[in-house]
């Protein structure tokens, strides 16, 4: 599957998830993204960490909305009014709205997750248009610096422990921090030399044409674009109503055409294609 068609799919899923407040459509986007990750996700790509992070983000969004929004008719529990910010009634409506917000965050994150969990980093850089290739390579290298530094910090910490180092106070940490900074600088110099030796910045980047645009990629891109265009048109014309649980909780309205637009995002998960 081409990274460019995957990027089109991710952008479509992201736009749909962010353009509606209706949890029904968000759930469909979320399930489509989950299917795609299960069908095409790389092993050992850190999907578990990402899913845990998404779960925590959703939980925080739910809790914050529940505690800070005191609107709604169905009161679950009343906190003493003297407690700053969170004091007052905690309502079922706020809980539902918090869950819907968490669902939106999860759907948006899962929609873009395939870009890193399905594609390789170099495939992402290759997928960029040629005018953006140099910027993409620089950005990719910069982003790679964070996990690289974390990895380096872990290794140095282990090495220092083997030498009998123990972190008891803040002043003990320079024993790890200084080597980490020096290693990062050395790594940057090595990377710069490696990029220069590969003629970075002299002309357009060349690469092996491993990924080819197949008819399947056309199908994925067209269905994703149809999904987002149809959905946005329905939102603009009132055909895909949002959802607002205040002041009284009510079931979200469902539009079948909007539902089908969202369901179109399942196409890349169908494994009838390689």
């Amino acid at each position: 599957m081409s990274t460019r068609s995957l990027a089109v799919w991710s952008a479509s899923g992201l736009v749909i998830a962010l353009s509606t407040s209706n949890p029904v459509y968000r759930v469909v986007v979320l399930l489509c993204a989950l299917n795609l990750l299960l069908a095409r996700g790389r092993r050992g790509s850190g999907a578990r960490i990402l899913l845990t992070g998404i779960g925590i983000a959703g939980l925080i969004a739910t809790l914050l909305t529940l505690l800070l929004s005191h609107t709604g008719r169905h009161v679950l529990v009343r906190l003493p009014a003297g407690i700053p910010a969170i004091g007052g009634p905690l309502t079922l409506e706020a809980l539902a709205f918090g869950l819907a917000t968490g669902l939106g965050i999860a759907a948006a994150l899962l929609a873009v997750a395939p870009l890193t969990l399905v594609s390789q980093p170099h495939e992402l850089v290759d997928a960029l248009p040629s005018p953006l290739a140099r910027t993409g390579a620089a950005l990719g290298a910069a982003l790679n610096l964070i996990p690289g530094t974390l990895r380096s910090a872990g290794e140095i910490r282990e090495a220092q422990r083997m030498r009998g180092w123990r972190a008891r106070r803040v002043v003990d940490w320079p024993a790890v921090a200084v080597p980490v900074v020096l290693t990062a600088i050395e790594g940057s110099m090595t990377l710069a030399e490696a990029m220069e030796s590969r003629a970075y910045g002299t002309s357009a980047r060349t690469h092996f044409g491993i990924q080819r645009w197949a008819p399947y990629d056309t199908l994925v891109s067209v269905t994703a674009l149809l999904a987002v265009a149809g959905f946005l048109a329905l939102v603009a014309t009132g055909g895909a109503p949002g959802w607002f649980p205040f002041p009284v909780l009510s079931a979200p309205a469902i539009s079948v055409p909007a539902l089908l637009c969202c369901a179109l995002l399942v196409v890349p998960s169908l494994r009838v294609w390689p």
Binding site: S21, L260, A263
Partner: protein, 217 residues
């Protein structure tokens, strides 16, 4: 992490599909109606005119000598939401998902649900209290119109004929009686069935992907 075997994965897949089907089946059960089988001695007609001009008529039956306006709306099976306005009672904020979302029940500008009453076949009168504070007797009618608040304020279509044959739901626009009995016409929602089916298929597919993923290793 504990691995999920093919059988367990298949079970997850089937459970997802079953959950979707169960959701559809539950929704397909007819909504409880006071009007079913025309066994009630008293009837009140409910006429709801939506924002697009479409009218919905329901005939609600009851045993007691009177019934409140909110009970009529509740028994009709139509989706609705209300908000309390002190001694005036409950104001209608939403009927049949219209408006789809709102922040104020009775906005200073924009559309709102106007309430009308008709006593013993008489003309429509604008309601002066909330829907929960109105009582209806046999032969009365309750009307709701999604009013744009600007321009004329016409009454909903006539309730005549809505309860002509108790136990049948008749469109208030005067069309042919519906085949669905009484207020149970609001039972199955194709949109909800479609949503349940989509969820079921996607969950089932995810279970299948999990099985295939495990098998590949």
């Amino acid at each position: 992490m504990r691995r999920i075997g093919p059988r367990r994965g298949l079970a997850i897949c089937l459970l997802g599909a079953l959950a979707g089907l169960a959701g559809s089946a539950v929704r397909m059960l007819p909504a409880p109606s006071l009007c079913t089988a025309a066994t009630y001695p008293h009837h009140v007609a409910l006429v709801v005119e939506l924002g697009d001009g479409e009218s919905v008529g329901r005939c609600v039956g009851f045993n007691a000598s009177s019934i409140s306006g909110e009970e009529v709306l509740q028994a009709s099976g139509l989706e609705y939401a209300t908000q309390g306005y002190g001694s005036l009672g409950q104001a209608v904020c939403q009927v049949d998902e219209e408006p789809a979302a709102y922040s104020t029940c009775l906005p200073s500008s924009g559309s709102y649900w106007a309430l009308f009453t008709s006593r013993a076949g008489g003309a429509w009168q604008a309601g002066d209290v909330g829907i929960s504070s109105l009582d209806f007797a046999n032969g009365d009618a309750e009307g709701l119109r999604y009013d744009p608040e600007t321009g004329p304020d016409p009454a909903p279509p006539s309730p005549a004929g809505v309860c002509a044959a108790a136990g049948s739901s008749v469109p208030a626009s005067g069309g042919a009686p519906s085949a669905s009995p009484g207020a149970a016409g609001a039972g199955a929602s194709p949109a909800l069935i479609a949503a349940a089916a989509v969820f079921g298929v996607l969950l089932g597919l995810a279970g299948l992907q999990l099985v295939l993923r495990r098998r590949r290793t």
